[in-house]
């Protein structure tokens, strides 16, 4: 099954002209020996490059994880993914750039707010309807459920519009939402724990008991947020991740789903998502400008010197985010029923439909999560360097390369591939100028596809 699929998707067989593999091996050994010699010459510099590589690799790993999640579920290259990275980074820019820089005040735009409010409203309405309809089918008519979820979705859209319209008061506008989310988590997590560890308990009674403290905790968290204007930057991260995720979900539900039913080949999907990438990139240039812009400084901009290497605190944070992202995705994919469904759809969508998996919902969730990971990677890149409209396509390609290097469709491969790509890129520019980075990444990709097409850790 798996091997058939990989040849069908255009993955080549290994290069088997006699002698090429030996030649490649000799060349690779020579490169490694040369690098070892250089490292021996100046260890601090080598440490610097290695650290830079791991820091960049963290972003690539995040991208590759989301990308491989989406690709191994629907088996086409979704180029919206790059636009999601740019959208995430520009979301933070939109919400948080100080008026002193002369951008946000004239950038804050009613039309943009309305577009995103509509997207979020639609997504919330659809999610509520799909979740509630099977559970309440006996008690209410579909029309009632539809109208109710439509109203709730409209409310969510209006709330999003308000949040986007007053970006300097994120801590105030978002505090009720945070209160509600924390309260819900405070009910759901103990609920899940009790259900798992205590057999035969009446859960409705338990909910009633846990509900009161949950409400208190939620209110307290909301109160804390409302009094902390410094939290605005981190809240804007969350908001722009969620927005990019909602756009991804809306794209799947509104477009890709219909297109996949009639598409003859994955190339159709690729070209369509290329169109979306073009449109979103141009949209970003129209709303903001083409020039690179800095994001406001987050924490950890000071550098430490460790053994002669300069290390930025924010980069360590980025590495932490990548590892946490990996942990969350691992839990989600390997430990929950959602993950089992995702893997089943990746193996065979028709059969998983037959055994009763709601493929639409699951794939929509996959798109949401994938776009959120991309947005997170875009935000980290934006804080590290700057945001520019072209970053989307480049980040997409880097995530693509990292997932091929690691082994496409494999979660462990994605994180390994990301770090490998980052380190190779950084060591590659030791002797060359920094501008060759992208070329080095693609040379690595072509070498891998020629000599090691399955990647470092093949899928199964």
């Amino acid at each position: 099954m798996s091997s058939q699929r990989e040849t069908a998707r255009g993955f080549p067989a290994r290069f088997n002209i006699p002698g090429t593999r030996v030649l490649a091996l000799v060349l690779a050994t020579a490169v490694v020996a040369y690098l070892a010699w250089k490292i021996g010459q100046s260890p601090p510099q080598a440490l610097q490059f290695a650290f830079n590589g791991i820091a960049v690799g963290a972003v690539y790993a995040l991208l590759a994880m989301g990308f491989t999640l989406v690709y191994s579920t629907v088996w086409f290259f979704d180029l919206y993914y790059g636009a999601a990275a740019a959208l995430g980074a520009y979301g933070v820019f939109y919400l948080r750039t100080a008026t002193a820089l002369g951008s946000r005040a004239d950038v804050n735009n009613v039309y943009v707010n309305a577009v995103f409010a509509a997207v979020v409203g639609g997504v919330v309405a659809w999610v509520l309807y799909t979740l509630l309809h099977p559970r309440l089918r006996g008690r209410f008519t579909p029309n009632t459920i539809g109208v109710a979820s439509g109203l709730l979705g409209g409310g969510a859209g209006a709330y999003t519009g308000i949040v986007l319209a007053f970006p300097e008061n994120l801590h105030l506008t978002l505090s009720p939402a945070i209160g509600v989310v924390v309260a819900a988590a405070a009910i759901v997590v103990p609920f899940w724990a009790v259900q798992t560890f205590v057999p035969n308990i009446r859960l409705s009674r338990f909910t009633a008991i846990a509900g009161l403290p949950a409400v208190v905790i939620g209110a307290w968290c909301g109160y804390l947020t409302a009094g902390a204007p410094g939290a605005g930057l981190y809240l804007s991260w969350a908001v722009s991740c969620l927005l990019a995720g909602c756009v991804g979900l809306a794209l799947y539900r509104g477009l890709y789903m219909y297109m996949r039913e009639r598409a003859r080949s994955p190339l159709i999907m690729l070209v369509a998502s290329l169109g979306i990438l073009l449109a979103v990139a141009a949209f970003i240039v129209i709303v903001f400008e083409a020039a690179p812009r800095p994001l406001p400084t987050a924490f950890g901009s000071e550098t430490w010197k460790i053994a002669g290497a300069r290390i930025k605190g924010f980069n360590i944070f980025a590495i932490g985010v990548a590892l946490a992202g990996f942990a969350i995705l691992w839990l989600l994919l390997k430990q929950t029923s959602f993950g089992r469904a995702v893997r089943a759809i990746g193996d065979d969508e028709e059969v998983s439909k037959v055994v009763g998996i709601n493929t639409t919902v699951i794939i929509a969730g996959v798109f949401f999560i994938g776009a959120m990971y991309a947005a997170l990677a875009g935000i980290l890149t934006g804080h590290d360097t700057a945001v520019q409209p072209r970053m989307g396509l480049l980040l997409l390609l880097k995530g693509w390369i990292a997932s091929v290097v690691g082994g496409i469709g494999n979660l462990y491969g994605a994180i390994v591939g990301g770090f490998v790509l980052g380190v190779v890129e950084q060591f590659g520019i030791w002797d060359l100028a920094g501008e060759w980075k992208d070329a080095i990444a693609f040379v690595l990709l072509i070498l891998f596809l020629s000599f090691w097409p399955q990647g470092l850790l093949p899928r199964r």
């Binding site: 067989a13 169109g275 141009a282 501008e435 693609f442």
Partner: protein, 351 residues
């Protein structure tokens, strides 16, 4: 445009029956696409006058050469290449370096090799060097198909842009190369825009003729077979990789000629003309016009140029956003095409 003899024979009967004709016309997307684009072009020429139309015509001719050549690879062979702009750039830089004369040497901050060749001696070298690059790239890329081919061709576009930007000893990097000579035969210089337009159209005709020969020969039929089923054609004893390499090189040589014309026309090039985005736009043109037809590529290039020029007259759109607005429109058009018409406006092959 491929001529369907059956349809032509049915034409008199159709003309005699107006209601039937109206029904045919209403359901005929190709006809409407042709009428819309050509009518738009004529209306534009009448409205704006000849002077402006000449400049727009030159842009159209260069895009048309590129899209006809790319259609050989994308439409007829079925390899979706996003790296075509690299060959265009090779041609443009070859022309710039070969034709710049040593007198300009003093003006330059960074010396690059100069030759001072005439335009018509340099143009074949443009094609040859682009072809040489295509051979090297093609040998590596020949093994990839479908999605993976798209990915590695993205890679070629990025690598070639990096080379143009960073190989300063030859390309002068981000400074670009100025004062590239216009072509001349004897005493007659192609100084005016009209002469250059005619030159570009002549090369467009040559490129179309060559493509037509390629497509309608047995070689072209093998390419179509490779597109439909590569393994099946190999069973019949054809080496698919050789055919793919050959068409790849032919297409790249045409792109090299387009590059030579482009750099001689603008008289200034820098790496920003050869970014990945231009290549993506080129693919959008080819798909918009129609896959696996030569006429479709012309139509696509015409629609693309008209789209930009037409947007100048939208009242509320600021001038600096025209390129971006066109990009938004193209992106949405691509999505709509993939939904409802995967072969493009007048295409013969569904992606």
């Amino acid at each position: 445009m491929p001529v369907d003899m059956q349809r032509i024979r049915e034409l008199p009967a159709l003309v005699r029956n107006p209601r039937e004709m109206a029904r045919h016309a209403r359901s005929n997307v190709e006809l409407w696409a042709n009428i819309l684009v050509i009518g738009g072009a004529i209306a534009f020429m009448l409205w704006q006058g000849a002077g402006f139309a000449v400049i727009v015509g030159t842009v159209f001719a260069i895009w048309a050469i590129l899209s006809v050549s790319l259609n050989l690879v994308v439409g007829f062979t079925g390899l979706l290449s996003v790296g075509h702009i690299g060959f265009f750039g090779v041609g443009a830089y070859t022309m710039a370096i070969l034709t710049s004369s040593p007198e300009y040497e003093q003006l330059r901050t960074e010396a690059i090799p100069t030759f001072g060749w005439p335009f018509f001696a340099a143009l074949p070298v443009c094609a040859l060097l682009a072809g040489l690059a295509a051979i090297i790239v093609g040998i590596v890329f020949n093994r990839f198909r479908d999605d993976i081919f798209v990915l590695v061709s993205f890679g070629f576009a990025i690598i070639s842009f990096n080379v143009f930007l960073n190989w300063r000893a030859v390309t002068r990097g981000a400074f670009g190369i100025h004062e590239i000579a216009r072509p001349e035969i004897g005493d007659w210089r192609f100084d005016g825009d009209v002469e250059f337009l005619l030159l570009c159209l002549a090369f467009l005709a040559v490129v179309m003729l060559i493509s037509w020969f390629v497509v309608s020969s047995s070689f072209g039929r093998v390419l179509t077979a490779i597109r439909e089923d590569e393994q099946a054609i190999e069973v019949f004893g054809y080496q698919a990789t050789h055919y793919k390499l050959a068409v790849w090189v032919i297409s790249a040589m045409m792109a090299g000629i387009a590059g030579g014309l482009f750099s001689s026309w603008t008289t200034f090039i820098d790496p920003n003309s050869f970014i990945l985005l231009e290549s993506v736009l080129l693919v959008a043109i080819v798909i918009l016009g129609g896959l696996a037809t030569i006429w479709g590529s012309l139509l696509g290039a015409m629609a693309f140029v008209l789209l930009e020029e037409g947007m100048r007259f939208i009242p509320f759109l600021p001038t600096e956003y025209i390129g971006q607005a066109r990009q938004v429109v193209l992106g949405i058009l691509l999505v709509l095409l993939m939904l409802f018409r995967p072969q493009g406006l007048v295409g013969r092959y569904r992606l």
